[in-house]
């Protein structure tokens, strides 16, 4: 299934876009998505670590993605 991924901060610089369409298998978990992202975008190895948000909340690695979920890659935050 197709999902849309939002990018911010260092990750939008590394991937040179603020959003991308990505194909994942049905019943993929957040952990599966992270592995698939690393294969397609090895540049992601250049950052410390990152979290995944699903529908504007931090997602556990076991969460199963649904079609039309809003996914965001959250690199280490530095507000304040």
């Amino acid at each position: 299934m197709k999902i849309k991924i939002l990018l911010f901060g260092i990750t939008s610089d590394l991937l040179e876009t603020s959003s991308l369409d990505f194909e994942v298998d049905t019943n993929s978990s957040v952990a599966d998505l992270k592995s698939a992202l690393l294969v397609k975008y090895p540049q992601l190895k250049n950052i410390n670590s990152y979290a995944i948000a699903v529908n504007e909340s931090y997602a556990d690695s076991t969460l199963i993605l649904q079609e039309n979920d809003v996914i965001a890659i959250i690199p280490p935050v530095s507000g304040g």
Partner: protein, 140 residues
């Protein structure tokens, strides 16, 4: 009556607004934390900071912090406002105010809110130097 005020804005933050929001006749004190843009990082001169945000999620996470602070500490009201966009040295990226019957809860709530904000709220700052720029915390 609203007990929390949450804002992410490209306008200049207003300490008076945050102060006014938390004032309450039942309170004996108001604590405020004001973050300001510092002119150096690890000995290197910073020219300006650019804050980008995942705004809808940032607002949700800031609301969670405010609600948790109301639960954890004996405060009456709390305001958490954060700026986005380019800020110059001395300008204000974040203001937190909290009011309480007694001062300790107000201090504790401010400390908790800024510490948690720096860990969980999806906001990123890019430091601009005279010879380049770097996303803070991004690299190993």
């Amino acid at each position: 009556m609203e007990k929390t005020s949450i804002k992410v804005t490209s306008k200049k933050l207003d300490l008076q607004e945050c102060y006014n929001f938390v004032t309450d006749d039942s309170c004996g004190g108001i604590a405020a934390f004001v973050g300001t843009v510092r002119n150096d990082t690890q000995g290197k001169e910073v020219i300006q900071l650019d804050f980008s945000t995942y705004k809808p999620m940032a607002i949700k996470e800031m609301q969670k912090i405010a609600d948790l602070a109301l639960d954890k500490f004996k405060i009456e009201k709390i305001a958490i406002h954060h700026a986005e966009g380019m800020l110059q040295i001395g300008e204000i990226p974040v203001i937190i105010t909290a009011s309480a019957k007694h001062r300790k809860a107000a201090f504790d709530a401010c400390q908790f809110a800024i510490d948690t904000l720096k860990e969980t709220v999806p906001i990123w700052k890019k430091e601009h130097f005279s010879d380049g720029e770097v996303w803070v915390n991004a690299h190993p």
